[in-house]
């Protein structure tokens, strides 16, 4: 059931189509144009209770065109990248640009900023995997989890493997292409005691198949995470320290990045408007972006504007050192782009790290949060209130699981109150961080 995917040929095809769209836009009267095109292919299998549940073959493509007529802009896109469709998309984009209002900030990034160094960042490692092999791996993963005493049933194990090509081109003559791959394996299990059922999961994800954890380890870890939730009580209501698991700490970095993103700033929809240079974190904390890191999850030599990416330092010794800007948002703010059209790529912390035990000892009494629910983060005010589950910590030791409580505070106070970072770094995503200890938040439970 495998499908052939010739990434090099696909890239050539997308490049040809992108150039066709640029040429068409020019002929239809556009002063400038940019085109993004992509094709992704993958296989996904899921098993449950020892049986195959789904086998899915995916192949997605798309082309998106933005044209500028003077200072007016129009965009159109399609999942059909055939020639007739490209023509329709470009015509539609040009038609829209006749109706939109003038925007002094509209346009491509400056030509001299276009990426010229386009090294291979080693992020394309397709997996020559048959459906049968994929099923075997998912079954092995699930079996390892189900073997653990106390596991009631499985909610399934899934393996997905995919690769793709994306191309960005604009009328400055920039043409950049990148091939990438991603593989992941996950398992979700259910356990039960007299209080009811609990479920949890674990996963592994990597650019290169060899960097995935062994299926058995993922299954065992999912079992571990599920079983430890049984017998959960509710924590007391009050103000106390909160330790965020690495995955959730990454979410706090995400909230910070959302608040220093150009789009939020020029819309005044951020609690960090006009705060450049202010101390936001303790002095021992810095945050940088490494977009050219070889083999990393979000590596790319050019951003969504075609601008050469570069290392950025957003937090420097606790201070807000840079906003995260695209060419457009930079113009809106009267600043320079930071090559972040499309977001941040590979965020890394610079901070002294402590063991998990040292952090628990430092917090003494509070909650370790391992799951967050809901979207209760207000980017405009920084107010933070989310549902949570985790563990009660007393005398610096994990005592018992807790659930059905909320943690609340304000992001600015939480950033200031960052009092330690764990050495338990999670490297699966594009944000690498360990646990975060926040000195005080309000816990609402029993």
């Amino acid at each position: 059931m495998t499908q052939a995917f010739d990434a090099a040929a696909q890239q050539t095809l997308l490049e040809t189509r992108a150039q066709m769209a640029l040429e068409l836009a020019r002929r239809l009267g556009a002063d400038a144009c940019e085109v993004g095109a992509s094709v992704d292919q993958g296989v996904g299998v899921s098993v449950r209770e020892g049986e195959v549940e789904t086998v899915e073959l995916s192949r997605d493509q798309g082309i998106a065109v933005t044209v500028y007529v003077g200072k007016r802009k129009g965009s159109a896109s399609s999942t059909d990248a055939g020639e007739a469709s490209i023509r329709a998309v470009v015509e539609k984009a040009v038609a829209i640009a006749r109706h939109t209002g003038e925007d002094p900030a509209a346009g491509l990034a400056d030509a001299e900023l276009m990426a010229s160094e386009l090294p291979d960042l080693d992020v394309h490692h397709p997996w020559d995997l048959t459906t049968e092999q994929a099923i075997e791996l998912a079954l092995a993963c699930e079996a390892a989890g189900r073997r653990r005493p106390g596991i009631l049933s499985s909610d399934g194990a899934s393996l997905s493997s995919g690769e793709g090509v994306r191309v960005y081109a604009n009328s400055h003559g920039f043409l950049g292409g990148q091939r990438g791959s991603r593989h992941s394996l996950s398992c979700m299990l259910i356990a039960e005691d007299e209080h009811g059922m609990q479920r949890d999961y674990d996963y592994t994800s990597a650019r290169h198949p060899r960097d995935l954890l062994a299926p058995e380890r993922v299954g065992e870890s999912a079992a571990e995470r599920t079983l430890r939730r049984l017998g959960a009580g509710r924590p007391a209501t009050g103000r106390m320290p909160v330790l965020f698991d690495p995955t959730l700490a990454g979410g706090l970095v995400g909230s910070l990045m959302g608040a220093i993103a150009g789009g939020a700033l020029y819309r005044q929809a951020s609690f960090l408007c006009d705060r450049l240079g202010d101390p936001l974190f303790p002095e021992w904390f810095s945050l940088q972006e490494r977009p050219m890191e070889v083999g990393a999850m979000a590596s790319s030599p050019f951003d969504g504007d075609g601008v050469q990416t570069r290392d950025n330092r957003f937090i420097d010794r606790g201070r807000l050192a840079s906003y995260m800007l695209s060419a457009y948002s930079a113009r809106r703010l009267g600043m320079q782009t930071t090559a972040n059209a499309g977001g941040a790529r590979n965020l890394r912390l610079e901070a002294p790290l402590d063991t998990r035990d040292a952090l628990l000892a430092r917090m003494e009494r509070g909650v370790l949060v391992t799951e967050l629910m809901g979207q209760g983060v207000n980017a405009v005010t920084g107010d933070y209130s989310r549902g949570a589950a985790g563990f009660w910590v007393e005398n610096g030791e994990i005592r018992h699981p807790v659930e059905e409580f909320t943690i609340a505070g304000n992001l600015e106070a939480m950033f200031k109150g960052l009092s330690g970072i764990g050495s338990d770094t999670d490297t699966r995503g594009s944000i690498h961080t360990g646990s975060w200890l926040i000195d005080e938040m309000t816990v609402a439970g029993a």
Binding site: D60, S77, G387
Partner: protein, 484 residues
Amino acid sequence: MTASRRSLLDEAASFLLTPGGLTLDDLDLGLGHALGPGVDYADLYFQRSWQEGWVLEDGEVKEASYNIDGGVGVRSLAGEKTGFAYSNQITADALAETGRTASGIVRSGPSLAVAPRVVVKGEARYGGVDPLTGLSAEEKIALLKEADRVARAADPTVSQVSASLSGVHEVVLVRASDGTLAADIRPLVRFNVSVIVVRNGRRERGSAGGGGRYPMARLRDEGVAERYAKEAVRQALVNLEAIDAPAGQLPVVLAPGWPGILLHEAVGHGLEGDFNRKGSSAFAGRMGERVAAKGVTVVDDATLVDRRGSMTIDDEGTPGQRTTLIEDGILTGYMQDKLNARLMGMAPTGNARRESFAHLPMPRMTNTVMLAGQDDPQEILRSVRRGLYAVSFGGGQVDITSGKFVFSASEAYLVEDGRITAPVKGATLIGNGPEAMGRVSMIGHDMELDAGIGVCGKEGQGVPVGVGQPTLKLDELTVGGTQS
């Protein structure tokens, strides 16, 4: 009706099949590829959608976009197994290739024949129209500019206004091996206003919006630009005055309408057929048992006219229905698609939905509504000594296995001695679905449906949904404020 239904099929076929040189008759052959040895059910889902969005910022519509999407999804079922493939191309070759891929889920077993086609008779729940064409580009822009003007005139603290207008024209056609042949044309439009107000260095946001399955022109005729602009400013000004929310367990009164996302999270997801078949829902195996307080009746209703979550037919071609999930507190029904209904020995309820042809269908909610009770809403508030009155919400989420759910208030007030007093900052509310439903102690007679803004996410797939409920009192819920 028969004539117009046939023309709906013909119209759908002309959008979906004709461009690739196919006719309705060719689909049996295509379906044959998906119905390989051992496959006991297969279906083809054709879809094409045209979507446009207009965005106003700084008083100017600087951005507009248009998207064309389409293709065919092919599914082969064998017992609990599902094989799935899809293609952007709707051609005989693509049907053969995707059909063979999907049916590869099993290799052996009896070969079934495709049942002769039976046109599904679903009663129309909305007009099968292209909602994008009723207004000219100039009229769409004028509508957005009106929202900007009204919002800025409403209060001097308004510093930013953004407004958006979006619409989708979607055409679908389903052909299944059980004989099903069904088509639908689904309009969906939405208008939104979001404002930022700034006073004495404090910044707050307010937003409002709505829409449904009807032409864009109706948004203009109903005066949504003015209504939502004023509502967004009102909400932002309330938030400028908001004090810290309380933390801990309190009685909570929910306003009618959109706070119905409580039902969606606390009970709705837990009653979807797939979770109950697999036994992973906190409601599994509880059919016929009391799962909510007396007086609580919850329905999932795809038949409401022109609503955001309504469906003439679902994505498997089953007519949209009204399904009673909980009746007077007793669990009476699950929401089903064909796969889960068959495996559980139940009937499909018209709840099979998918984000697009490139996604597998699952049992999903449509419009989930708690029916009106007897209580006077003022009486409900007067019964609270100290509690929270929640009027509007952002998103919610549920863990269907443990039953824990959250939803985040975006406009809420303290209730003290039966009176609404100070507005409080947005806070997350958390509870356990079955427990929370047991704590419903008063149900208002003022059932309202939401304005038409809901998007439900499940396994990464988003679909439009509606909710509704009357004013509701829960004796106790955990409120996630900062004032302990």
